[in-house]
Assembly symmetry: C2
Homo-oligomer: 506 residues x 2
């Protein structure tokens, strides 16, 4: 486990220096067992749990509150850019799905299929009855069903562009599942647009790729490399797929959000035809782009530490929690002081008082695990001195501060919290990008147990990819930022200018 110890030394210890405590709030540390730690962060923050339905998850209130914040930010941005929300059917008839050959080949193996429309008692058991003439797939994605509507709506070039988005659930029958990262059902948004020209559609696909980059890297403070997917790893049916490949703390890549230029493939499959400016009948150029609850897994694996979750302020359900340290005789004064603090905070600060009847110490650790940026413990002492006792979640520093100072500096403190979150993560990830110039170097890197992203020259063709399978790695993307230098492809030896990112992935 050299690799994991290595990352611990860079990242964890950097924060550990600031700690005043010795124990951690989770049983398992990242360096001991990353997968178990990930599960403990989720359980400790009460984000989600496995449902008693194969492969499905329950997103619990605290996890869902994070998703709601994400939705609000993205939704506002989509609308600002002219998109409108709509809703399309959950079910896609098998014969509609079939019309785009690559698309159906990509999804047919992992779809939930509805074949009946009721349950009937038979031999004391409920069994399916009322067989459907055409089986229905539960949508794994909606290009076909939304495209079919677009085909009805787009009659003339004047009806274009059509700029749609949908927030919904989708189902992909994954055999091995993991909370947030891979579940049979998940939530997402899927944007679908239709345009008059290739140029306009390509601009849209790139614009939404930029939106995702902004959201992932600037809003969520996740380290990500934007780029293009290799030809052989595009979305099924796309011409080009753009991705943001985020680096997790174990050095693996997470495909965080993708945007696709679909060419006229789907327009031809479902008949999105319009009368152009010259009077001729033309097929539209379409795009689609999506971001799912998977990003919550990415958020967890980017910022959490051995005490649990850490959150950027934009999606933190709460910025401040106030814990009254109540002993019977003076509870009223303490509660009044807590309410006073809450009422003095700026409107942008999301704060709540936890006055539930259980141990204040347990509460504090619960909120540490939930990643609330500032935890206030308010007891007799604070009431007497007019102070606030603050624990900064990110560094676990605890300090007393006069109330007025706390109130006037909380917005700055939250900005500092975001900066530190961002800096810690980006320093860590940047230090884990390695340049290699041959397959041997690549081999040595991954076989030595090191982790992270490796940058190397690649010809762009699909030859010799089995050399990557051997290392259980893949080409994650061709980064947007290219060096422009010429070198030899580490897989084929051919001369090429293309830089590519190689890594293990989720």
């Amino acid at each position: 486990m050299e690799n994991v110890l290595d990352f611990a030394s860079v990242y964890c210890k950097q924060l550990d220096k600031r700690r005043s405590m010795t124990r951690h709030a989770l049983k398992t540390s990242r360096s001991e067992d990353f997968a178990t730690w990930y599960q403990e962060v989720i359980t400790g923050a009460d984000l989600a749990e496995n449902a008693n339905v194969r492969g499905c998850m329950v997103i619990k209130p605290y996890g869902y509150a994070i998703w709601e914040r994400m939705q609000r930010i993205l939704d506002d941005k989509f609308k600002e850019l002219g998109h409108t929300n709509a809703y399309f059917p959950l079910f896609i008839p098998a014969d509609l799905f079939e019309r785009e050959a690559e698309h159906v080949a990509g999804f047919a193996k992992e779809m939930a299929i509805v074949t009946h429309h009721r349950l009937e008692q038979k031999d004391g058991k409920l069994v399916p009855a009322g067989e459907l003439e055409t089986p229905l797939a539960v949508r794994p994605t909606s290009e076909m069903i939304i495209g079919e509507s677009m085909a009805r709506w787009a009659k003339s070039y004047r009806d274009l562009p059509i700029l749609l988005n949908q927030w919904c659930n989708v189902v992909r029958w994954e055999m091995r599942t993991r909370l947030f990262l891979r579940t049979a059902e998940f939530l997402w948004q899927e944007g679908h647009t239709a345009h008059e020209t290739e140029d306009e559609a390509r601009k849209e696909a790139l614009q939404m790729h930029e939106v995702y980059k902004w959201f992932i890297c600037d809003v969520l403070k996740i380290f990500g490399i934007p780029g293009k997917k290799p030809e052989y790893d595009k979305f099924a049916g796309a011409v080009d797929t753009f991705t943001v490949e985020a680096m997790m703390q174990d050095g693996k890549a997470l495909q965080a959000a993708t945007s696709h230029y679909l060419g006229q493939n789907f327009a031809k499959a479902v008949g999105i035809k319009f009368q152009g400016r010259d009077g001729s009948l033309q097929y539209a150029h379409t795009t689609s782009w999506g971001l799912s609850t998977r990003i919550i897994g990415g958020l967890i694996m980017s910022h959490s530490d051995d005490d649990g979750l850490n959150l950027p302020s934009a999606v933190a359900p709460y910025h401040v929690v106030i814990i009254p340290m109540i002993k019977n005789e003076n509870s009223r004064e303490i509660m009044e002081y807590c309410h006073k603090i809450k009422s003095m905070l700026p409107g942008s600060i999301r704060c709540f008082i936890d006055a539930k009847e259980y141990s204040a110490q347990n509460k504090k650790w619960d909120y540490v695990r939930k990643g609330i940026p500032f935890i206030l413990e308010i007891g007799n002492k604070e009431v007497d001195t007019g102070d606030a006792c603050i624990t900064k979640r990110l560094t676990m520093e605890k300090q007393n501060m006069p109330l007025n100072e706390f109130v006037s500096s909380i917005e700055k403190m939250l900005a500092d919290h975001d900066d530190l979150l961002h800096k810690s993560n980006s320093d860590f990830c940047n230090s884990r990008i390695t340049q290699v110039s041959s397959y041997d170097e690549l081999y040595a890197f991954f076989k030595s147990g090191k982790t992270g992203f490796v940058k190397a020259k690649w010809s762009g063709c699909a030859s010799n990819l089995e050399k990557l399978d051997e290392l259980a790695i893949s080409i994650r993307c061709i980064p947007t930022e290219q060096s422009g230098t010429i070198g030899k492809c580490i897989l084929t030896g051919a001369n090429t200018t293309i830089d590519a990112i190689f890594a293990k992935s989720y």
Copy 2:
């Protein structure tokens, strides 16, 4: 068609008086054919359409924008009352569903059943493959699946109440479908709560019933009678079901939203047990409550007229649309004036400028059909005089007004719009509540072709209900507001104090 002419005389003509035009914006009037008119309102306002999937609908951007407004208002209210959102699986294993006998009996006949997890090519066709061990129902409602999670979460009375809500899609395999009113898939919110005591759970069910009454009657300005469902017509598995029965313009009732006290039925079926204050193991008392996209159908049938949709300001995607009457030579001046108007409006007013290239006259009629409260036509004349030319959608009055006056009175004008919408609808509906004291009177009322709600005494027992089937009517609810007088049940002749509402329904 006496009944329909009758309602036209009361309601339509009241508004028609104010009209300066003679033609209407829809082909079919309410008095000619209510069902066709309903469909034309939806098409004319571009709210939704039938999908090419049996029984499913596409909610188009303008229809979805109304739903989003509804969601925001309700969601804020739910949260204000302490509920949090969460997300639970779409699929319910058949054997879980089975555990509450009444519940499964109520839903088993109309469920989409997933039996396979992929599609395979066979004889040139895609067919289901990979059969599941246990068939999965696509949720028609989530009492069982959410209850199962609650059973894991509620260990002690300290963990209660659990106050959850979920915004999601549900599927009920309806054989005869109609946009918004009855579709195989629809969108809704479903609240689910678990409590320590019966008293607390009953209070919750009634509180949410009050919230629905407020939302339907005060926010949406729909006329509705709150009350309790008859025993035989409760939600499958409930102890008590509370409803708001809204009256549509054709006099039929629409069950607009329901709230259920579920007793310990579901808690026992899924095992929601907790350690009580006395240390004993107890079953929780649960509630559930839901409102769906069906309410958009109710909104349409309450307020729309022969020109199309009308909307209360709270859920209108836009309050004001500005149409530039552009001729080539002066388009810049007109556009500048339009932007000036928009920029002067108060922040609470949702306004947009439609500068698309098509006939201004067609645009105006499009927005009439979409029910935008105020339609501004801005041409040379308005630029010269500094006026705004305003059409008030509700009365179709057209007038010129100095711009400053328009800007300073728009909020008042919108409030007047809401008042008139409310008054027109409630005057109309109140005039269509008829009191009868015998079955003969009831019979004569409905057989004469009259429509509306009929109030009469009812014993509360399920005897002689076939007498209602003959008239194609049903008991809609036992209104919360009871006269307290004693009279004879019109079905059984028994003495009773109960007042009930009889009507045809959707």
